[in-house]
Assembly symmetry: C3
Homo-oligomer: 209 residues x 3
């Protein structure tokens, strides 16, 4: 039997993989290339985190992640005409996955002996770097840098984790606070189309370095 | 004297470097930048593999790889007007190089104690990640995701390696089976313009995550 | 009190971060995304170097780098309309930073037991890879591959370091020779718009691998 965190971890892998496979297919990438992009989307963030932590990448120690991504590939092929109707379901899993991936990244970083601020940053990387790599591979400007509070939700989740984890009385709630805040911030941002401000660029600045 | 595998390894490095240098030059990258892109193309895949294996990157322990790439740079400068006529020769080396790089990646991964399925994936990364990084640096959609069975050939080679290596009677043929199958699959795919199917995207799907 | 090398290290981090934040803002990336791109620009090169050296990334062990980048973000927000007038000041810091980052990369690589030629290459990566990653994230062709002798200045600095460091009589001057040569080469290249030649591409070569 899967524990609940394991279920969410694989569910997060599944929906991240689906987002990669669908965007790859939309960019006319072939079936196997789509599978590779699905893998990168789902495990890329955790892989970069593990390299920074000098840990063996998690997916090299558990074939269930690749199996999950393979099932996602078959799922996309079979249900490709019905996926649009499932957008809301995907959004829910994607958001839960973002929160869970952030938490997994934070906890692993702390386990490796780093302070909260490093954990917050690596938690964010765990959540967003797979999607950024996917966008780079299909040559789009990473949407993550243009959207309603995505990376920022991970940092808010990390900050609440640190706050709750720091005080003994609230320590047991740190995990829940982290995941819940990511989900809530992200959902509110999407619902009300909230975004962070953009620094108004100097009109004549072209960039020179 | 070079052994045959060493000869093929440096020959693979040479042709991968030439492909990087030529594409960089075509994108108006200067001479030194082209050298850097040649390096990335030739050693990028093996470097990512070594980072994932937590090994010191192979080229940091043997200057002959950089020397080979420098010779490739001089070769492109001298023969730039005659390279087109050599396309077929390059294709042969490029394909042999792909097969050899895949095999090198598989064997190193197994040496580090990982199972076949990890070795197949890291063998593929060894073969293709340098070319993908090259395409990202010169801001093209990685061709590898659009072409006749490229990454797929590495996986087929890896699967045959695993099959032959698993049974004692055929173990000695695993290397040959791997390299030969990559070369054969790739040659047939190019000759008959075979590609893997593309998942027909939903017409109204724009991608949102 | 900061030592002079520490001052230059943080000053280099500051100006590299500013270049990332400004380019991100010009590409309509939001405030937090700009902060992330500022981080990547400032610490990306050293991070790739540390991964290749199998060392813990330097910024995970010293929060002052992130604090410096956060100050850079505030600086850009407050002074965004006056930054253009400071171009020359930025250029000076950017160039000093390039020289210092190159030197830091060379010295760390040698400390880890690698020969000069590896140190020269990792010194260059320390200096340029952050800017390249920044350009990839905002989907531009990395300017570094098109500009007046940028990566080349790092290699010249590295070569002079090796030369001065090799002979006992000049060893004490190796650091100065490295940083000074990067600054001088880069300044002359900008002032006289010097660039390295481009390999004239074959007109009908399209690239096929």
């Amino acid at each position: 039997m899967l524990t609940f965190p394991e279920f969410i971890d694989y569910a997060g892998t599944f929906v991240f993989a689906i987002s990669g496979i669908r965007l790859a297919a939309a960019a006319k990438v072939d079936l196997f290339g789509s599978f590779v992009i699905g893998i990168v989307t789902a495990v890329g963030g955790g892989t970069i985190r593990d390299l920074l932590l000098n840990a063996t990448p998690f997916w090299m120690q558990d074939p269930k992640f690749f199996i999950t991504i393979f099932i996602a590939l078959i799922f996309v092929v079979i249900f490709r005409n019905r996926l649009v109707r499932l957008e809301n379901t995907f959004f829910i899993f994607d958001t839960i996955g973002l929160g869970m991936f952030t938490l997994v990244g934070i906890e692993k970083t702390i386990l490796y002996g780093h302070p909260y601020w490093v954990a917050m940053f690596l938690g964010m990387i765990t959540g967003i770097a797979g999607g950024i790599t996917r966008d780079i591979l299909i040559n789009e400007i990473p949407l993550i840098f243009r959207k309603e509070i995505y990376a920022g939700a991970c940092i808010i989740g990390g900050a609440l984790f640190a706050l709750f984890d720091y005080f003994p009385l609230t320590r047991n709630w740190a995990d829940v606070a982290c995941v819940a805040s990511v989900i809530i911030v992200r959902t509110i941002a999407i619902k009300y189309q909230l975004g962070l401000p953009i620094i108004q660029p100097d009109s004549d600045y072209e960039g020179d370095s």
